[in-house]
């Protein structure tokens, strides 16, 4: 039997066992996101406008990741708002970066895989490089936004009358902790994914000049840096949104009391 099939079944069973209903939802969310990426690829392949397709599919992927991840409406709404702002910023940034860095396509290191393939396919790979950057950060942004929103909403629930300065201090402390671990996750994820490429560079004794300029490696580094920036901005903006909402709510509470 197919090894991947068995592992998928193991994953599903584990998710149901550990997560119960939420586990089923999370598994379903993964399948939906896979489908979303599938549709994204087909639409880009049909030459729809890459920017519009990326924006729409990013929104769909983010909403699946966030709204299927938790039941708490306050948490998910804040996380979703945050992720949209962050992904918008990062998308603009990745367009700028792609303009200067030209990270598209393949290089001679890929010759073996490219054998027999037509390389004049009429699809602008510059756009695809931008799409790859945006898609790879979506998960990290959603995760960071969810983590900080969930933690802060618990703080607010435990002490609803907390002053905004004190809440702000809390966002900084909790934010710092999430930042450290989330950046580590992303860092190890990217590092792990690139072991073969790095070994290739070391084994063939690439000069240092290539380590800091080569397209393949720099594309990965840029993706990682954008992801880290995404995590940082998520924590920052989510904290800011929650503090602002808290101030508004307290003000409303005061006027409400006056009216009574």
């Amino acid at each position: 039997m197919n090894a991947i099939g068995i592992l998928v079944i193991i994953l599903f069973v584990l998710m149901v066992f550990v997560g119960k209903g939420q586990g089923v939802k999370a598994f379903f969310g993964l399948l939906c996101n896979f489908l979303a990426i599938f549709i994204l690829i087909i639409l880009i392949n049909w030459q729809f406008n890459p920017y519009i397709v990326t924006i729409i599919m990013s929104l769909i992927i983010l909403s699946i990741a966030i709204y299927l991840g938790s039941d708490n409406i306050e948490v998910t709404n804040t996380a979703f708002k945050t992720s949209i702002i962050v992904v918008a910023i990062l998308m603009i940034l990745s367009i700028v970066i792609q303009h200067f860095g030209q990270f598209q396509g393949f290089t001679t290191e890929n010759s073996e895989e490219l054998e027999g393939l037509s390389l004049t396919v009429g699809l602008p790979f510059g756009h695809i490089a931008m799409i790859v950057m945006v898609i790879s950060i979506l998960g990290a942004v959603a995760e960071a936004a969810m983590a900080i929103s969930a933690d802060l909403s618990e703080v607010v629930n435990r002490a609803p009358n907390m002053s905004s300065t004190s809440l702000y201090a809390h966002t900084r402390i909790i934010g710092g902790q999430i930042l450290g671990t989330a950046i580590n996750t992303l860092f190890f994820g990217v590092l792990g994914a690139n072991i073969p490429l790095l070994i290739w560079f070391v084994r063939l004794r690439y000069p240092i000049a290539m380590f800091v300029n080569a397209k393949l490696l720099m594309a990965e580094v840029v993706t990682m840096l954008l992801g880290m920036l995404g995590i940082l901005l998520s924590i920052w903006i989510a904290g800011w949104l929650i503090v602002r909402a808290n101030i508004k709510q307290q003000k409303m509470g005061i006027t409400h009391e006056r009216n009574i």
Binding site: G29, F103, A150, R203
Partner: protein
């Protein structure tokens, strides 16, 4: 008032990025290879071609005038590129190029990207410093640098020695990376020890499951031969990739759960095993979905350029899923298993250790 202070900080970050960019645009003297800047481009459309799959593309020829920045001369080069820019690239005025001299001919090695990447890195570090305190940021950056050094050393050992056990080598690396990062973040505490222990146990079980399933099925449906940039046995390389990838996610999750459970103990030290177990499971449930998504997005996005190329080359989806996305999907699934397993392992381990402490008191 605070707003003005903040604005000042952002201006400093902006200036730092600008400075890094300008410096790296003028760092040609650091290179031994010739580095040039394109000063003039004349492009000409050569031909429109249609390949066997009915894709039409346009081939262009550029005549580039390049001023060498670390040699005192100017050269002229011709460059052909297809408009889709899959293997070939279009160059623009102002682009800096890394060149190589073979015989008497210069040829283009790569676009010089250090200014772009350096600028982005400076932006990240600058914003990190504005957001959190100097000390916290420097610890974080220090741990990243330390990890890169450890990782680099492992790669060199892997390449230099001929009959090293790759699997063992990267397992040792994983233990060192986990210990180093957690020590730097949490300090030498019981909390750190437990987090490290659960991280390592979970990673080991996950890899165990992977190896077991692969053995039982004889690698059915898994195409290790499709891995890119392979210079050694792909199976162990894949294991190494998985160990490192799973480690980060599991560490993140275990740290969250353990921190929460320690918070519980601070509130009330006489809790039972079941209290810790249920609390741990409930926190884990909330974060597992989004955490699996993080790795899923990274692994799938990585395969996308090749998927597009294969689609355009008239391959069907079954073949692409089987050949191109195969290892990406496997990587996601196995990481997912690790992330889910971390929840019961952490909850049980912490619960067991804590409740034993209570009964000893």
């Amino acid at each position: 008032m605070t707003f003005i202070k903040q604005t000042k900080k952002y201006i400093v970050v902006f200036l730092a990025v600008l400075f890094a960019w300008i410096f790296l645009r003028h760092d040609a003297f650091l290179y031994t290879n010739p580095v040039g800047q394109v000063t003039q481009v004349s492009s000409k459309r050569v031909q429109k071609i249609t390949d066997e799959h009915n894709n039409s593309d346009i081939i262009m020829t550029q005549h580039l005038t390049i001023k060498l920045l670390n040699r005192n001369q100017s050269i002229k080069l011709t460059n052909n590129y297809a408009q889709s820019q899959i293997m070939t690239s279009k160059y623009r005025v102002g682009d800096q190029l890394l060149l190589e001299k073979i015989g008497t001919n210069m040829h283009i090695l790569s676009l010089k990207r250090d200014a772009t990447v350096g600028g982005l890195a400076t932006l990240l570090i600058g914003l990190l410093l504005v957001y959190s305190k100097w000390r916290a940021t420097s610890w974080l950056l220090f741990s990243l640098v330390l990890n890169v050094i450890l990782f680099g050393l492992t790669l060199v050992i892997n390449v230099q020695s001929k009959n090293v056990n790759v699997f063992l080598l990267f397992s040792v690396l994983a233990i060192l990376l986990a210990t180093g990062s957690l020590l730097l973040v949490l300090g030498k505490t019981l909390q750190m020890g437990i987090t490290l222990l659960t991280t390592l146990i979970t990673t080991a079980i996950t890899i165990g499951i992977l190896v077991l399933v692969l053995r039982l099925t004889n690698d059915a449906g898994v195409h290790f031969e499709t891995m890119s940039y392979v210079t050694q046995l792909p199976v162990t390389l894949f294991m190494a990739q998985t160990i490192i990838g799973v480690l980060g996610a599991v560490m993140d999750e275990a740290a969250d759960i353990v921190a929460m459970q320690f918070g519980m103990r601070r509130e009330n030290a006489t809790r039972q095993f079941s209290d810790y177990w249920h609390a741990g499971m409930s926190v884990g449930r909330d974060i597992m979905g989004t955490l699996i998504n993080v790795l899923f997005m990274i692994f799938i996005a990585e395969t996308m350029p090749m998927v597009f190329l294969m689609l355009r080359n008239g391959n069907n989806w079954t073949y692409i899923m089987d050949q191109i996305m195969n290892l990406g999907i496997l990587q996601t699934v196995i990481s997912g298993i690790g992330i889910v397993l971390a929840i019961p392992v952490t909850s049980a381990l912490v619960g067991w250790i804590m409740s034993r402490k209570v009964s000893r008191l």
